[in-house]
């Protein structure tokens, strides 16, 4: 952004903040991004620096770090969704803060303390609404994507008890689907009129849904269950959607192994007609046929899987693990269902993100304070970028994908 434009915009932003009351534009130092004027945003990304409350802005074409955005609070378990322009991103912090940042200017454009403990969020199909899912006080909150003004507050109270919300995903026509960890329910909030949300509730879906995904076509919502063996699926294309159990009792008769970190389902692993899902308490990846929803294979892996992510073309599935096996990343060939590569990119691998067409994957190593860029065909390390205790990596190409 040019100096003059920044001066023109600043009063506007301040005015917006004053109008909102709750939102404030912090006085940060001038951005030090290396983004030239007129640059597009399609190949940019953010790396969460979880301890320092900062974001690394990266260029996935040049494989460079462009700069840092600071002042985002507690970013342990932070996640990001993108506006449709791929230049603005919404960062959901553990401390309940929702922050709108601009990757081209490196500036925080709005920030609101919307809860005391949050776990992530989603953006509506049309890009107009941002929704946060909260642990404390539970429920979801809906914000105007332009201003972060609160549009709707939807508690998740069942039998008088507030429930933590997990597995929030956007589904077509400005609807959001999410799971209630404590209550064992799945709700759909239809925000066609965001001031008058229409809620559809599915009860008794299973014990402790811990995370969920929506398939790339927006058709199926799948929640993992922590409290029992199995997952639950809702086919949203049927006239009367209903929860159906899939992979019931996949660990039947076996003593569950300790789960030192909860798996993540978001960042889906649907490859061709199969879905690749982390088992809970078993060192296996479960392979499910998405036509029949029957298990077709399971692949033994190096530890408790955390992220099981398909390369965008679906040919490979990459898996990382919970402590103490989190120095390893394994690659499964989806055609042979065999592990074709085990690599050790660094200590404490927390997340992976593919470039839009999958030629490379970016891997964060929390305890080595770096992000490695790895060629997905040769497995060569193409670049190593510095980052302080990095966790999630989020590329702007997510802007175009349902469920991201």
């Amino acid at each position: 952004m040019t100096r003059s434009l920044r001066h023109l915009l600043a009063p506007l932003l301040l005015g917006t903040a004053a109008l909102l009351g709750c939102a404030a534009v912090p006085t940060t130092s001038a951005p030090a991004l290396l983004v030239p004027a007129g640059r597009g945003s399609g190949d940019l990304g953010l790396v969460i620096e979880r301890e320092s409350g900062s974001l690394g802005v990266v260029d996935t074409s040049a494989r460079q770090r462009l700069g840092t955005i600071e002042g985002l609070g507690d970013l342990s378990h932070a996640s990001v969704v993108y506006a449709r322009d791929g230049a603005q991103a919404y960062v959901f912090g553990r401390d309940g803060a929702l922050t709108m940042v601009n990757l081209l200017t490196g500036r925080i454009e709005a920030r609101v303390a919307q809860a005391s403990n949050s776990i992530g969020g989603a953006i509506s199909t049309d890009g107009s609404l941002v929704v946060a899912q909260n642990y404390q006080p539970g429920g979801i909150k809906v914000f105007d994507a332009k201003t972060l003004a609160l549009v709707a507050d939807i508690p998740a109270v069942v039998d008088g008890k507030p429930s933590r919300v997990v597995g929030l995903a956007d589904i077509p026509r400005n609807r959001f689907i999410y799971s209630l960890f404590d209550a064992g329910q799945i709700w759909i909030a239809d925000l066609a009129d965001p001031t008058k949300p229409v809620i559809t509730k599915f009860e008794n879906v299973g014990k402790q849904p811990y995370d969920a995904l929506v398939t790339p076509d927006g058709r199926n919502y799948i929640a993992g269950l922590f409290g029992e063996d199995g997952l639950v699926k809702i086919d949203l294309w049927t006239d009367q959607p209903k929860p159906e159990r899939i992979l019931p009792g996949y660990g039947r008769g076996q003593q569950a192994l300790p789960v030192f970190k909860m798996p993540h389902l978001r960042g889906w692993a649907v490859a061709g007609r199969t879905a690749w899902l982390p088992a809970v308490g078993r060192h296996e990846v479960l392979v499910v046929d998405t036509d029949t929803w029957q298990e077709v294979a399971r692949v033994p892996v190096a530890g408790q899987p955390v992220f099981v992510m398909a390369r965008p073309d679906g040919r490979q599935v990459w898996v990382n693990f919970a402590v103490p096996d989190y120095d390893t990343v394994q690659v499964i060939d989806t055609q042979t269902r065999q592990i074709v590569k085990s690599i050790k990119p660094g200590k404490a691998v927390l997340h992976m993100e593919f470039t839009p067409r999958g030629d490379a994957v970016w891997v964060s190593s929390r305890d080595d304070h770096r992000v490695s860029v790895i060629d997905t065909q040769s497995f060569d390390t193409l670049a190593v970028l510095p980052a302080k205790s990095p966790s999630g990596i989020f590329f702007s190409s997510r802007a175009a994908r349902t469920g991201f």
């Binding site: 507690d74 378990h77 403990n117 776990i119 030192f260 402590v323 103490p324």
Partner: protein
């Protein structure tokens, strides 16, 4: 949890209680290097459920206020063996009883922050 583990639990608890008492003696503390590792482990790995600030998440808050009134032995048992029926796993494959006892004691007085050199 299999029945055998339930039956064994009281015996284990007794063992831990005994070692917790021993751990109160300074000599039984983890050394400084191990303490630094434990602090990072609690903040980072336990933090994935309990938050880096230990203010809670899927797991409950582990702040001094929430921990102070819980018997130390119960905390040690929870850390070491986990809590059946909840997502809390036992960490005995990664921690000694001395480690678990030290962590429990630190949680009750307010868990220390990481002191580390930046890369």
């Amino acid at each position: 949890m299999p029945l055998s583990a339930w039956l064994a639990a009281p015996a284990l608890l007794l063992t831990i209680t005994a070692s917790a008492a021993q751990a109160l003696a300074p000599a039984a503390e983890p050394d400084a290097q191990r303490q630094a590792q434990l602090i990072r482990m609690v903040r980072q790995d336990c933090g994935s459920c309990h938050g880096i600030q230990l203010t809670g998440g899927l797991g409950p808050a582990l702040t001094r206020q929430t921990m102070a009134d819980i018997p130390t032995n119960s905390l040690v048992a929870t850390i070491y063996h986990g809590r059946p029926g909840t997502p809390m796993p036992g960490w005995k494959t990664m921690l000694s009883e001395t480690d678990a006892t030290w962590i429990a004691q630190q949680l009750q007085i307010g868990f220390p922050l990481e002191q580390r050199a930046r890369p």
